[in-house]
Subunit: 429 residues, 4 copies
């Protein structure tokens, strides 16, 4: 049972103006220590190194996702749509609020090294012995399981899952607006109120009415712009790469029994790949940041150099190339070795095709629910079948591959790198 | 010779914050009666009937185009680009300011009936015996001719013409932002400062540097949205159609020697298709609006009805249809006649393919200069060859044809229209 | 009885994003010809001569006042405040929508010459034989009388009157935001949502809860800024003065039996001070604007000169003076006469103390309801007793008196004006 | 000698749109590790606990101050004001950029406990053996000393000092806009471009031209709103108090030889009040945050409880009282002690008069330069002598004193606190 708060609570939010809380359960969830921890995890990882304004946390974003979900549901209720399952309201709101609760610090870099998975951790935190679990259970003993199912997309009702994760979900709607606001990249915005006006529940799906197609095109175009202008910005990629190399090196040193001067609590769990829930909750971005500062003084030259690069923003430079092949990469690695630089830690190539490009494609239905258009004859059509623009957004557009490397270390590398390689890296003049 | 003003003048502008005037010639042009007249001609004609906020005038827009041109040039000068012909600065600014000076009231509707042409009138006003001409001549006796050449696109330097009329010109940049601001349709905005940062003069063209492609995509997407959401809005089309019918009827009555109760000065010139410059300057939107009010009391039933529809916003309804052919149209016309309604004045079909869709297409180079991308090898590529998105914007997207008609007159039309026609018009229940 | 619309109607509005209409009565009122006429009357009269963006109409503003009232009421209802008389909802909405329906063209200038009064006309239109009256009567035969009472502030319930006209009413809240938006003067904005959160009904009044005092200070400060930056801008005053002089001259000529070349319909009624309702509805700003164009060709030199000044924005210049007395004024008038210029039409002095300064003062309770603060002990305190800032806004702040005159006619006036006078007018060099 | 960069560098900034860097010295300063450290110090300390969006760093703010200074100077140069000492440009820019470089983590709380002073540290970092010092020296060996003098307000030219610290300086202009943007409190904004247009150098001062008085009123009003709505928000104060108590307790325990489980590097320096520069640079907010997490597990009950309160946002509640005296405070302390709660760590009273209220007052000339108005007679007048509003902003307005305490620990405190005290604290039901 959810109880209403005596008095509506309000958070001032720069993106949505105000965030409204009416349910006691939501209020109590926000006040758990697991949710408060999200204040210490940035929403955009290392992007602040490119866009200095992007220092916002997953706490802000999670409140925002909750608010978008609340507005969608409130619109559905106000219009009295019969296809909306009213009894799922609290489940939706809790899932929206908690969907990111398992995110650790700098997930992009950390997860790829240690194989942790934030979604898995979210479910662990929701189902485990946590304050969040207690608050949910108090509202309804089945709620933790249901919330976990919604977040892992195994809940039985597509309409509930789709609100939290689909191609047009509360998560994406908040993060696009929020990331645009904090980076200052205003071309990433779209008209949320207009989207709210064109979606509705329909036979178990959330659909877009036909006249709303242009609104969805606008939203997807914003997403496209954010990916290419912000999320894939090479400077951001460069700092992510350095951070990943830090952890790769640290793991290797740990395996090689390096004697760390600084190695405490959750770090051990991390390096051994067996973190307890308590470890996980301790490992926020302050912890990682402070660790990197300590490690910048470790004796291992590679680890300390990488850490100090991250700390003081002395990033790898990048070269953009139209085409690339395995040959080039192996030549480069050889050349760097000849110069005395370990390419395992000082070279990285971003192949365009391997970027985690989450822009709408009709085909990827297995991963995330597509956007359905309700046409004039009341039939559902997948939206890219109607819109040339949406189809065209799916592809890769004249992008380039990027090679990341420490330019200043290679400034006198004529003896180890061929003129062609130097030219490719832009080091020839 | 242009003189600098003793002190920079400033206009507060909601779109560009401030508009800066430094040249005496510009200041004097703004104060001519021909330019002041633009205050009495709305920028978006009858769009205010759909978007009540869109009541802004061509005066505001013209100042805006001037300001965008000024900022572009000032950016070119600040960066010291060698390919920018500095001596053309005043010519560019004057042309930007004056490019719309020949616009009459509700041009869309009026020009199609009387065959007037605002561009032709602009040149007449620039070259004729006007205050504008005197101010230009004072600065440089050749200036009127040059300004007229730039506006008519016959001036020798593409870079000058392109600043005022091309696919990425000061005119479009201002009107998209301004129309979005006044309608409240904020998805029509794009980031002007970002565009300014990616364009530059290059061998006689204005080009976009390759890394700016996404910025241009964003700008063209805004334009696409404005066309489909604002400029082609069926309610706006409906009011334009009524206005055109008013003038068609008035012209016909005049040819038929109808005894007008109200018919003065420039109206006679208009109906006879021979307006003097003085007539033209008198015929602003107040004049037309007041005329329509007078004519709403003329004895001719059709004229007075159409006028009163326009005045009191009792517009034609519209039906959207996927397919349409000549057969349907002729059936409809016959049916309406059988009901005693003259289809010449009470029926109009908007064929999708005939909409004046001015969205970027690579092919239409004869009409307006394309957008050139300066690629990594310093070669020029027409932008749609690089961008799937820009290519996809060019087509017609799942739009519909629209039939406009006076629904309330046809509410009991079962005896004159077939059930199929009634269904098409949405009058079957 | 008010019926709900089958489907909510929506207007896109640049200030409030969307305006929502749920009641059939409201929808029908908007579609009356009397309400549509407001599209042809500008909200800010001649201000567009100073702020070119300020071309918005009373139609937009009236919709905005309605929307603000709707949001206030909807907030009261959502919170279930017992002190809110629910049965007055439709009355409030209709009054908000219609409160300006009697405004004629350029009211400031016209009313002062002919003694017409827009509030009186509003009531005439609501109570007379009009479409508006019919729509109201259909909803409830008593509604026209009630609406008229609310607008004329004689309705029995202060809380209803206060919503439409008080120091913190829907009218002011809309016009401040709207005028700021269209002029581009963004320092005139305040946070409407925040105001909505701090007001509530309380024992027959609308009151502000104590913690909301700073929000009201911010709102009143915006109002203060708008008055001094926009409403009293000397260029606006100059154009108002010229317009008033036009009408004063026209009236005088009419009394003197001048043979007008252009004088039709409602103009006669206006000049004779006996307009019918039909006359009144015809006399919109197009009519006045077109009349001024015609009159710029009348034989009377003064009338034609004043009209052409207005048309082509050749306004009177102004001189700002710290102190002024009757002596100076009479000297000036004498001097102008000596130069052959009629001071009745070419001289005006704006005494600071006579400006219609409608900024909050505690004392003016007779004119408009004060703002009540509900303090910690649940007692009502007039807000300026708590706030130094609000008290300080009330006075006149270092302002100046302004003298308006045709500078170019006085450029060689050394023989008629004393050196001291020339210095005062800034004509001494 | 400052060198220009080959190509202007640009930072995307949400507040100023873009931040432009043209000088190599500025670019190099930004890339020093001392400046990069500012990314790890929040601009608003614990305010993010109240306004979740306020997570921005001093890095962003410092860039912003630089940009405001750059725009002011560029305006002075563009207008060619003779009273502007052009040779001071680089000094001004460096000082603006570096003025906050000595800020440590959560300065408000830390400085009051340990007596550190960020301004002093700024000068140490500028003058000491740092990267910043080397970059400055390279441009001009005298530059470090000059920058330090400007920041400490001992530099000989008031106009240079005033640009960085005065009542209308680049620092305040940026932080008001920035804090408003990130908190979402948009009533804290003012029109920066308008301020730039009304200030100018005049005989060694930066002055405001008389017609700009309203612009300054608007700016000061924003500041007033920010103080009362944001900076003094009781929830923010509550978290600051807890943090201060943490450090007071930690210091006490250290003096009492408590055996810390976690106590490393710079913390020792802090607790002993003798930090080296290296310590100081290490002690960023990550370090403090991580320390607090560790200390939440220390054996001392008070320290661990306070730390866990801060971490999980279980703050002290507050009661607002109109009047307060020493008697009440001592009664409260006694009562708490009787309940077994140590008032040294669990009670705090914010006396209104002791708030660091930095709103404009004419009198405080010794602390910070006043705002001079250049009147019509070209004389300087201190602005509050002309403006009632500015005078009225100076005082304390109907504010309240606040008592902070752990409400949940006092929920059954009837035996230790008198009914009157319980009522005062709002614990009486």
């Amino acid at each position: 049972m959810t109880r209403q708060l005596m008095e509506e609570k309000v958070f001032k939010d720069p993106v949505h103006k105000y965030i409204y809380v009416q349910d006691e359960t939501i209020w109590n969830l926000i006040n758990t220590k697991e949710f408060q921890r999200l204040r210490r995890v940035r929403q955009l990882g290392t992007s602040f190194m490119t866009f200095h304004g992007a220092e916002h946390s997953r706490f802000s974003h999670s409140l925002g996702v909750y608010e978008v979900a609340r507005r969608i549901i409130s619109q559905f209720e106000r219009n009295g749509y019969a296809d909306w399952p009213k009894e799922e309201r609290l489940l939706c709101l809790c899932s929206a609020l908690l969907h990111d609760i398992g995110h650790g610090p700098f997930s992009h870099s950390v997860e790829s090294v240690f194989g942790t998975d934030h979604e898995e951790w979210t479910c662990k935190l929701v189902l485990g012995d946590t304050e969040v679990n207690r608050v949910l259970t108090e509202a309804d003993p089945e709620l933790p399981k249901k919330v976990s199912d919604v977040i892992c997309k195994s809940y039985g009702k597509e309409i509930v899952v789709g609100l939290i994760s689909s191609q047009l979900d509360a998560d994406r709607m908040d993060y696009l607006l929020r990331d645009a606001y904090y980076t200052g990249v205003h071309y990433g915005t779209f008209d949320l109120e207009r989207i709210l006006r064109v979606i509705r529940p329909h036979k178990g799906h959330i659909v877009v009415k036909e006249s709303g197609m242009h609104a969805v095109e606008d939203y997807l175009m914003s997403r496209y712009q954010m990916y290419w202008q912000v999320y894939f910005h090479p400077v951001t990629r460069s700092s992510e790469i350095i951070l990943r190399k830090v952890f790769e090196r640290a793991k290797r040193l740990y395996e090689d029994k390096h004697e760390y001067q600084f190695l405490m609590g959750p770090l051990v769990g991390l390096l051994e790949n067996k973190m307890t829930t308590e470890d996980y909750l301790m490992l926020d971005e302050s912890y990682v940041q402070m660790t990197i500062m300590q490690w910048s003084k470790e004796k291992d030259g590679i680890l300390s150099d990488l850490c100090s690069r991250f700390l003081n923003r002395r990033l790898f430079k990048y070269a953009a190339v139209d085409e690339i092949d395995g040959m080039l990469e192996s030549e480069l690695r050889q050349g760097m070795r000849a110069c005395g630089i370990d390419p395992d830690y000082y070279l990285e190539i971003d192949y365009l095709t391997e970027l985690p490009y989450d822009v709408y494609r009709a085909g990827n239905e297995e991963e995330s629910l597509p956007i359905w258009l309700l046409d004039g004859k009341h039939e559902l059509v997948e939206i890219s079948r109607k819109s040339d623009i949406i189809r065209s957004i799916g592809g890769i557009h004249g992008g380039k591959h990027h090679i990341y490397f420490p330019a200043e270390l290679l400034s006198h590398a004529e003896q180890c790198l061929s003129p062609a390689l130097l030219r490719t890296l832009g080091l020839d003049g």
